[in-house]
């Protein structure tokens, strides 16, 4: 992470221009941009009209993926009168008559700002395929990769507000994130591994002066030229963009957005001093800095063993972080145009197994939506008495994603042709849950 002093040193505007220009003329960056029709998306202003009434209000999305599959019964769809509920308390919420699991007291108090979706269902109980489906709306197959939502948004709306930051960022995400899919790799989210460390290695050693850094970049360009020309392979040319973005980060002042040290200790504490809490805080900072889509991955939900014990760990982290994020966004006046999504890849079995855990269950699971035009204080959909299958208002991953896309104002029916010549839409014919808006 970059220190204040270093930031000051790097902020020198002459340096920024110097180095960025060097990168522009180097490393094949400009050549790539000219050749690639998609990299110069300029339609940001020609935003499609909102596809659903009340949609199109979200300027940014903070998307929490509870990886491992969050139990619906132990979170937002408890069934206190059934045998399968388990040991945790069930508590009332700010929505009269609506209960959630006792692991979420702070979220419960704030459900008037939240739409709870209880009727999600998916097609697979295998983690990676299910997560892929949630992130892309498409089934994972080996012959093509589909773009994730932040990447679609960049495709339709152009770069985010921040000139020198990528349009989307992932925090703590595993390597299997679908990223840019078949869209240009230059749209890839910037991966931040550890929120506490932000983006690392952004400053060259002291002995490298502006002049020598520029020379070094020129040298790379010259030494790399033959190879680049011989192998016009997409994954080779993709590196051009990464060089470009890296150099921008090295010479830009926006790095401060990644620095959690700049937040008061009280705020950091409020979010929770754990990876999720700090990841959410980082996401809020990035939204302020103009990043459009931030996904925070929150691992550890695969509770085949001792679901109560594990929920006692994971529940409070999510509860605290989510509540702090809602409060923080609201007090900064950001909640109206920032959509917060809490989701997972599938649910967990109502029956407790012989290890006191719950196994995979794609039949029904729950998620939360808040802000960004979503009307709080409502519950969408209903499951049966054991939260085993959906009884009312079935929501597919495609529908759920269409709701997020609608909040962002993305054109749901516009087809984009992949390099292999096949047409794709943002959410594969998903139907947005339009009455969640407004």
């Amino acid at each position: 992470m970059i220190t204040r002093q270093e930031a000051g040193r790097l902020n020198d505007s002459s340096r920024r221009a110097f180095v960025t220009n060097a990168a522009k003329s180097c490393l094949g960056v400009s050549a790539l941009s000219a050749a690639d029709p998609l990299s110069s998306v300029t339609h940001a202003a020609e935003r499609a009209p909102a596809v659903v009434p009340g949609g199109g209000k979200a300027k940014a999305v903070i998307y929490v993926m509870n990886a491992g599959a969050m139990s619906q019964l132990d979170s937002f769809d408890p069934k206190p009168d059934s045998d399968v509920q388990g040991n945790a308390d069930v508590i009332g919420t700010a929505i009269p008559g609506v209960q959630v699991s006792g692991y979420f007291p702070e979220s419960a108090k704030r459900l008037d700002r939240v739409a709870v979706v209880r009727s999600l269902t998916t097609t697979t109980g295998a983690h990676d395929q299910a997560r892929y489906l949630m992130r892309t709306s498409y089934r994972e197959i080996a012959s093509i990769r589909h773009p994730s939502m932040g990447v679609w948004a960049e495709r339709f709306l152009g770069k985010g507000r921040a000139k020198d930051l990528p349009a989307s960022v992932t925090v703590s995400a595993a390597n299997r994130h679908p990223g840019a899919g078949f869209l240009p790799t230059s749209f890839s989210p910037l991966p931040v591994g550890d929120p506490d460390r932000g983006v690392e290695n952004t400053s060259p050693p002291e002995y490298v002066t502006d002049d020598s850094l520029r020379r070094r970049l020129t040298l790379i360009d010259k030494f790399d030229q033959g190879f680049r020309e011989q192998f016009p392979h997409p994954s080779v040319s993709a590196y051009s963009t990464f060089y470009d973005e890296a150099v921008k980060l090295m010479s830009g002042g926006d790095l401060a957005a990644f620095d959690l040290e700049k937040e008061p200790a009280a705020i950091r504490d409020a979010y929770g001093r754990n990876k999720l809490g700090q990841g959410l805080l980082l996401a809020r900072r990035l939204v302020q800095a103009g990043v459009r889509f931030i996904e925070v991955e929150n691992n550890g939900w695969d509770m085949h063993f001792d679901v109560d014990g594990r929920m006692r760990e994971k529940g409070p982290e999510l509860d605290q972080g989510f509540a702090a994020l809602l409060d923080d966004l609201q007090s900064q006046g950001m909640l109206d145009d920032t959509l917060v999504v809490v989701t997972t890849e599938f649910g967990r079995k109502p029956g407790i197994n012989d290890r006191a855990g719950r196994d995979h269950h794609p039949g029904a699971f729950s998620s939360l939506l808040a802000g960004g035009g979503i009307r709080g204080g409502q519950v969408f959909g209903e499951t049966d008495k054991e939260a085993r299958s959906v009884e009312d208002g079935l929501v597919t991953p495609q529908d759920f994603n269409a709701t997020i896309a609608a909040a962002l104002g993305l054109p749901l029916s516009e087809e984009i042709i992949s390099p292999s010549g096949r047409p794709f839409t943002v959410t594969d014919a998903g139907e947005p849950l339009s009455h969640l808006f407004g």
């Binding site: 097609t123 390597n175 890839s188 591994g193 290695n201 040298l219 011989q230 063993f305 390099p419």
Partner: protein, 650 residues
């Protein structure tokens, strides 16, 4: 190694004063400097020349197992088979009007073959030795030499670890390390592939006594998912979607899945001592304090006992039942599932269910099993499988040339599933020894193998290659063998007395502490400079290997070779790159022992890119060095490791 000398005529320079020594890793070397300087200058200078040369000559380590060596006498046969593959590939090219890529030059070959067999770029002297070799069979010689190296074991292990999701940390007294060592030894001994798979599927008994059961232990607590993993890894068949309902896009029904799973669900993966007959040990398991275990050690004692409880314990009484919400007509909820295989027939023949299953799966007649192994090995060499998607083969999958596939299947059977012999044949083909293609095939639908496909190095290859550029002997650090710990932890749970168990626990506990971390002397600015196989897994997301796509090994083949911004930042500014320019780095020593400026430039290019510069590049480097001296040399080195050419295998 002696051939290396021609390239290294030593010209002592002021820079060299700091550069010699003995030790392997920079951090140590720095500490040793004082001593080094204290020696008489003349003597140290000459010694330095020789030792530095030897130190950087080679990272090669001969294989530790005689059994794993390729048979020198079988060379001719391997070459004849390679020639037959080339005939088939050529005829495929003619049929589809494909022009083969250029053959690899020696420079390109030596880099590619080191990376593909040992997972690491060759050193300057290894390149020089190969380039100077005038024998006709030098490529076949090098292939054999590398197959007979420890580098082979490490690279093969990294591939398996990516496929089998091997993490180094366990929980609850379970350590995957015993399985890891077992697997490494299987690879070192080059145990036939079908035997290896069979051992993993049929292993029986306690983990501490038979680490092969670690394969099934990986999915303890999610055994049905484990069945889907087995089908995917060894049969390239995706049935996991049918675990909960009929497969939406394939032929598999939920019943198929359950029947297929019923074989392996006839064993427990845990057997508590509390259920055994050893009353004394039972007591200790409830009340360790009564037997002198410190209150603070109670948890550790519990884990020590648990370590003895994991395993695979077959039990004929144990049978898989249909779930109580089973929704199809073909079986009743909660009834016993009758085992059945996905295709062909299995034979029980008085064996256990698990043995019958393994016999069927690894049978020479199981076409999907053969396709899977052949396809994976082909893919490792060419970057694309003959059949793609390589891990989702169905009855509709078609290789681009059925005759070639048939031949490869015959070949793997003929060599009795000797993976190394099979690879030896493939690496000796002209088809492999061609320049990589730069156009990725569209969804792999019609790739006729004009050459391998251009690939970025895997995370492990990038990391280990970096070590070759910096650390004099990257193999020096080997994590300590877990064999003594395994022996220490193993108690006879049926007969051991509580007192004896506690005594053994205390001894084991002491020993355990010795396994904690990589010693400080192998660290540089907090980074552990040891080979990828010696590092723990999963690594934190900010680690070099994670940034380059190693993955957390939670999912099958979760590694990826995509670029990213943090990668570039690490390469530009990270500690590992600084290290290259430290006085004791291999790179630095290589430069300071060069004859003159032209030699410096040659050495830098050879060391980093395994080739000499072309005229344009030489002019660029010359200008930089003439103008800026040593810092110019540093800039050239820095720039070269940051080229894409360094990261991609052509």
């Amino acid at each position: 190694m002696s051939e290396g000398k021609a390239l290294s005529v030593h010209k002592p320079s002021a820079l060299l004063r700091f550069s010699f020594v003995v030790s392997v890793v920079l951090a140590v070397t720095v500490i040793d400097c004082g001593e080094a300087d204290a020696r008489p200058p003349e003597r140290s200078r000459s010694a330095r020349g020789a030792s530095a040369d030897l130190k950087i000559a080679s990272t090669f380590r001969p294989l530790k197992s005689r059994q794993g060596f390729v048979d020198v006498k079988a060379r001719e046969m391997a070459l004849a088979k390679a020639a037959r593959i080339d005939e088939l590939v050529d005829s495929m090219h003619r049929k589809h009007d494909v022009t083969a890529n250029e053959p690899l030059t020696d420079e390109q070959f030596v880099r590619r073959i080191y990376l593909d067999i040992c997972g690491v770029i060759p050193t300057l002297n290894e390149i020089a030795t190969f380039l100077r070799d005038r024998r006709d069979d030098k490529r076949a010689n090098l292939i054999d030499r590398l197959l007979n190296s420890e580098g082979y074991v490490e690279h093969a292990y990294n591939q398996w670890a990516n496929t089998l999701r091997i993490q180094t940390r366990g929980a609850g007294g379970y350590t995957p390390m015993f399985f890891i060592e077992w697997l490494e030894n299987q690879l070192r001994d080059n145990v036939p592939y079908d035997d290896l798979v069979r051992s993993m599927l049929t292993a029986e008994g306690r983990y501490v006594e038979n680490p092969a059961v670690g394969y099934l232990q990986r999915d303890r607590g999610m055994e049905l998912i484990g069945v889907g993993n087995t089908a995917r890894v060894f049969l390239s068949t995706r049935i996991e979607c049918a675990q909960c309902h009929d497969h939406p896009f394939d032929v598999w029904t939920q019943n198929d899945f359950l029947q297929f799973s019923a074989f392996s669900q006839t064993a427990y993966l845990f057997q508590s001592v509390r259920r055994g007959n050893n009353e004394s040990l039972k007591k200790a398991s409830y009340k360790a304090a009564d037997f002198g275990v410190d209150i603070r050690d109670r948890g550790n004692f519990g884990r020590f006992l648990k370590a003895n409880e994991y395993g695979v314990y077959s039990d004929d009484e144990l049978r898989l039942r249909y779930p109580k919400d089973y929704a199809y007509e073909d079986a009743k909820p909660r009834s016993i599932v009758r085992p059945a295989v996905l295709w062909d027939e299995y034979k029980r023949d008085g064996k256990t269910w698990r043995e019958a299953f393994a016999d069927w799966l690894t049978s020479e007649d199981n076409e999907r099993f053969n396709w899977t192994v052949v396809n994976r090995l082909w893919r490792q060499a060419f970057g694309v499988g003959l059949v793609e998607p390589y891990d989702d083969i169905s009855s509709e999958s078609e290789p681009p040339d059925p005759e070639l596939m048939d031949y490869l299947v015959d070949l793997i059977k003929e060599v009795d599933y000797d993976v190394k012999e099979f690879q030896r044949v493939i690496y000796n083909t002209d088809a492999y020894q061609r320049l990589a293609s730069s156009d990725p095939p569209d969804a792999y639908e019609s790739y006729y193998f004009p050459g391998p496909l251009l690939r970025r190095m895997t995370a492990e290859q990038v990391w280990d290659s970096f070590l070759t550029l910096t650390v004099v002997d990257p193999y020096e650090y080997q994590r300590p063998s877990y064999e003594p710990l395994r022996r220490a932890v193993t108690i006879d749970v049926d007969t051991v007395s509580a007192q004896e168990a506690v005594k053994r626990f205390q001894k084991h506990d002491e020993m355990r502490r010795g396994y904690d971390a990589v010693p400080r002397k192998y660290r540089y600015q907090g980074v552990e400079l040891v080979r990828s196989t010696e590092l723990r897994s999963p690594l934190p997301p900010e680690h070099f290997l994670s940034q380059f796509g190693q993955g957390t090994r939670d999912i099958i083949e979760g590694r990826n070779e995509d670029g990213s911004v943090p990668q570039i930042l690490t390469m530009f500014n990270g500690p590992v790159t600084h290290m290259l320019l430290e006085p004791h780095a291999v790179m630095y020593q290589t430069v300071v022992s060069a004859r003159d400026r032209d030699d410096v430039i040659d050495r830098i290019f050879l060391t980093i890119l395994s080739r000499t510069p072309n005229r344009f590049e030489r002019a660029v480097a010359t200008k930089e060095i003439d103008k800026y001296g040593n810092s110019g040399i540093g800039n050239v080195i820095w720039a070269l490791v940051n080229t894409r050419e360094f990261l991609f295998i052509r």
